[in-house]
């Protein structure tokens, strides 16, 4: 398995940047979510961000809220996420990060969660509501297992907090493009560019921008300055509207923005 960081670095070296694609596990059902994630990998997505459905997703907008609620209503359990990761990583060579709110990990047991994720072939965690300050157990578990840990950096973060996010993250730092939640936006905030510049100054070598990116043009624009572009809601919407075929073509279209033009 290639590491997230090496995949991003390779894409950058080739003159473009990485396309990170988000889909929730279990939406619209477990089988389809696995097929959809594989389709992402087969259509130009470099890193898969697999969401773990959670009852109180404060960082997510309406599209992802609706999708994760569907998954939970249909009976999604944590072990389904590991099953999905295992199957995806057995079929494609694309690294898979789990995006999860903190309480499910806490209740499962931080060490047990890390062990199961590692065994399933997962690369690490993106933790939207866990700041490094509260992450002692996860820092220890990720050190022990070698799993990646992606913390967020926001336009409002102080320089000291940006440095902390860079120091504690492994894989990449998730640069929040705008002060807001997930969901497609017509133009990606200029705050993203300024934030990535600040991250660079603070020493970041792997920074991906997320929130609001939904088109190949936006991917291209973001990759002018960032190492990766993260697309979520637009892919979820494609999956919801047109199934695996639609999400495959959405990924393929987005990927045109991540190659050297």
């Amino acid at each position: 398995m290639r590491s997230v960081e090496s995949v991003i670095a390779a894409r950058k070296a080739a003159g473009g940047g990485a396309l990170v694609g988000y889909l929730p596990a279990g939406f619209p059902d477990l089988r389809t979510s696995i097929e959809a994630a594989v389709a992402l990998a087969e259509n130009g997505v470099d890193v898969i961000e697999l969401g773990l459905p959670y009852s109180d997703p404060v960082m997510d907008g309406p599209v992802i809220q609706a999708a994760t609620l569907t998954a939970l209503t249909a009976g999604f359990r944590i072990h389904h996420a590991f099953e999905a990761v295992a199957e995806i990583t057995s079929r494609v060579d694309t690294p898979v990060l789990l995006m999860t709110y903190w309480n499910p990990v806490l209740q499962f047991g931080v060490d047990r969660f890390a062990d199961e994720l590692l065994a399933a072939g997962g690369s690490g965690l993106i933790t939207p509501d866990l700041i490094p300050d509260e992450a002692h157990d996860w820092l220890a578990a990720s050190e022990r297992t070698g799993l990646d840990r992606v913390f967020l950096a926001a336009p409002s973060s102080t320089d000291a907090r940006l440095s902390q996010a860079i120091e504690k993250s492994r894989g990449f730092v998730y640069a929040v493009s705008t002060m807001g939640i997930t969901g497609a936006r017509s133009d990606v905030d200029t705050a993203a560019k300024a934030l990535v510049a600040r991250l660079r100054t603070a020493g970041a070598t792997s920074a991906c921008v997320g929130l609001g990116i939904s088109s190949a043009d936006q991917v291209r624009e973001v990759l002018q300055y960032a190492d990766g572009a993260i697309v979520g809601s637009a892919l979820v919407k494609a999956l919801a509207d047109g199934g695996v075929t639609a999400v495959a073509s959405a990924a393929s279209e987005l990927a045109t923005g991540s190659t050297l033009s």
Partner: protein, 403 residues
């Protein structure tokens, strides 16, 4: 360290800040501003002036002997937060935070509300300070608390019914947090309970501790000694911590929080977080939580919208763990029965939330006996609950008979 001196961000293993990074700067800014205001005589004078000229503080205490006859003959004294402007204790915290928001240059207040009491209080403060106000309220709650929705709108607030999840208080908090993340530059999230990320649990407690400080002295003046027990209802726990706090270091005073057991703590339909929950993270803090094996929040249930919350403030979780306070479940039926009893014996119609404290106090009074003195936080008035009570007792129709 005295129990009263706990100032977060952790209470034992509870509390903290489990929020998106985007909110950290705003929380830090708020924490700084609050620490400064706490020791600033100008701020304290402003707040005290508002309380004496607007809130109606100090709120009185009322001894309720006819009610007490049904509670083993214990002396029962009510702290009358129901008499505050806007009808509940919520205004104490709202005025404090609104003053802080103004200091921070924020022009827009965001609030969540369950029963509507906190939303009404926030809308009131926004009107008073000339601020914009958006209140998130679960759709289920907008229906059962329609009167409070109208009050908020009359006060100029925008009320947004939340249709996500269980469509109650928990989901209203999620929506309020999402709004705050997106609008943090001009907006203050005026959280209405002692939950949420630091500094909210400490700050909200401090704005409410005036309840216990006044009541402690008032009881001393009335009966010449401290009460044997202090009781309050607990949803998130703001009124309870408000009245408990002054007594935390009085070992002779027992503290009882009554949480909503809905149809029974042994049924799936309750909001008895301490009784049935276990530690977890929700809405930015680690505390007790109603959750399934996977850590998914379980939907709570209570006839009282204000207690219909699957979490509880971290300081309560800590007080429970160290044994300083006890938390017991009270069912919908027990609360409604106590509501009617207080109405009929004393001419005071309590909020359904506060009726949970009254119901618990009836049982406690029987245990402690006639020599005992119990101070109850009557956190709100029942005007907003007439629709629910009318339906519950079937006394709404013109032809309905006195039950």
């Amino acid at each position: 360290m005295a129990l009263r001196d706990q100032s977060g961000p952790y209470f034992g293993e509870y509390g903290g800040r489990f929020v998106p990074e985007s909110l950290i700067a705003a929380l830090d800014e708020l924490d700084e501003a609050y620490k400064a205001a706490k020791v600033d005589p100008v701020f304290q004078a402003e707040l005290a002036h508002l309380h004496s000229t607007y809130t109606g503080r100090p709120s009185i205490i009322t001894e309720v002997p006819r009610f007490a006859e049904h509670a083993g003959g214990a002396r029962i004294i009510l702290k009358r937060e129901d008499l505050n402007h806007t009808g509940s204790h919520k205004i104490n915290n709202v005025l404090g935070q609104a003053l802080l928001a103004r200091r921070l240059g924020k022009t827009r207040l965001i609030a969540e509300t369950g029963a509507g009491q906190h939303g009404v209080a926030t809308a009131t403060a926004a009107a008073l300070f000339g601020m914009e106000c958006v209140v998130y309220m679960g759709e289920v709650d907008t229906e059962r608390q329609a009167l409070n929705v109208a009050r908020m709108r009359l006060l100029g607030a925008e009320v947004i019914p939340v249709t996500a999840g269980s469509r109650t208080l928990k989901d209203a908090i999620n929506e309020a947090l999402r709004d705050w993340v997106a609008n943090v530059e001009n907006s203050h999230y005026l959280l209405g309970t002692v939950a949420g990320p630091h500094p909210f649990p400490v700050m909200v407690r401090d704005f409410h501790k005036i309840i216990g400080e006044e009541a402690r002295q008032q009881v001393l003046d009335l009966v010449g000694r401290l009460p044997d027990a202090v009781t309050a209802c607990v949803g998130g726990g703001s009124n309870a911590i408000g009245i408990f706090h002054a007594f935390l270091d009085d070992p002779s005073v027992a503290l009882y929080g009554y949480e909503a057991a809905g149809e029974g703590a042994e049924t799936p339909r309750h909001a008895a977080t301490m009784t049935k929950g276990r530690p977890g993270v929700l809405h930015g803090a680690r505390s007790y939580l109603l959750q399934d094996d996977d850590g998914q929040t379980v939907e709570s249930h209570s006839i009282s919208a204000g207690l219909d919350y699957p979490g509880v403030g971290p300081e309560h979780a800590w007080l429970a763990d160290i044994g300083r306070a006890s938390y017991l479940p009270v069912t919908d039926d027990e609360a409604m029965s106590a509501l009617r009893l207080l109405s009929r014996t004393e001419g005071i119609i309590p909020a359904i939330e506060s009726a949970h404290a009254l119901a618990g106090t009836i049982t406690l009074g029987k245990q402690l006996g006639p020599e005992s003195i119990i101070l109850v936080n009557l956190s709100g008035r029942g005007d907003k609950d007439m629709e629910t009570a009318g339906r519950y007792f079937d006394i709404l129709d013109a032809g309905a008979e006195q039950s």
